[in-house]
Symmetry: C2
Subunit: 133 residues, 2 copies
């Protein structure tokens, strides 16, 4: 059940266009994909650094969870995603240890991954995602 | 100047003792070091996952930057650290591209690394650290 690496770090931004410039020109990272995730009402942009992706998240609607996050806390790190072998098993294991789940069952996320979220109230304020291929 | 991987993710918590239980028993990670960084007024605990460390941060004084962070935003992800070859060069490069620095020059951080921080106001709300060995 142990996650093997940090799959990605999600960062909520007002504008992917503006943030992209920083990640590209200051950090020298390359954006290899821009994708819309309709059911989450977000546009995403991905950069690779070592084993880990940085996923920029821009709301496509004021009802997007990302829009609400930014309204409340401002731009910044939104969630942390751990690579696991089996997302459903990892969710069940967490629940069996008293962790509150956002997703009782896995679902499809960006990049075709199988994902599921834990609630930050039981993970020390860190919105936590499990994902598997 | 390009960072090569995510060196660590700093997470501000009220109590390392409590948070450790979650990272160990739910995520199955092993805490390999607990260290106090006196000049930052924090106690730290480290876990390794793939290339990346998770660094828990607990304030040892109400004046600690971590205590102020938690007071304002609650527990959660505090900063993101990129491994670079030379921290001073990375800081200078960022400044030359208009980024506001917290550290004009590198300094010593936890685990003997040479570190320096960028100000989150110019990095889309992400308190960003460069570190080198």
């Amino acid at each position: 059940m142990k996650p093997t690496y940090i799959e990605h770090i999600g960062i909520a931004v007002n504008s992917i266009e503006e943030a992209k410039t920083y990640f590209e020109s200051v950090l020298g990272l390359e954006c290899y994909s821009v994708e819309e995730v309709a059911d989450q009402k977000v546009k995403t942009a991905f950069f690779m650094i070592g084993q880990t992706k940085i996923e920029l998240l821009e709301a496509t609607s004021p009802e997007s969870p990302v829009a609400k996050f930014i309204e409340k806390r401002g731009q910044g790190i939104h969630h942390l995603a751990f690579a696991v072998e089996n997302t459903d098993e990892a969710l069940q294991n967490a629940e069996s240890k008293g962790i509150t789940l956002i997703d009782k069952q896995s679902r499809k996320g960006a990049e075709g991954l199988t994902i599921g979220f834990l609630h930050p109230k039981s993970t020390f304020g860190v919105l936590t995602e499990f994902c598997s291929k």
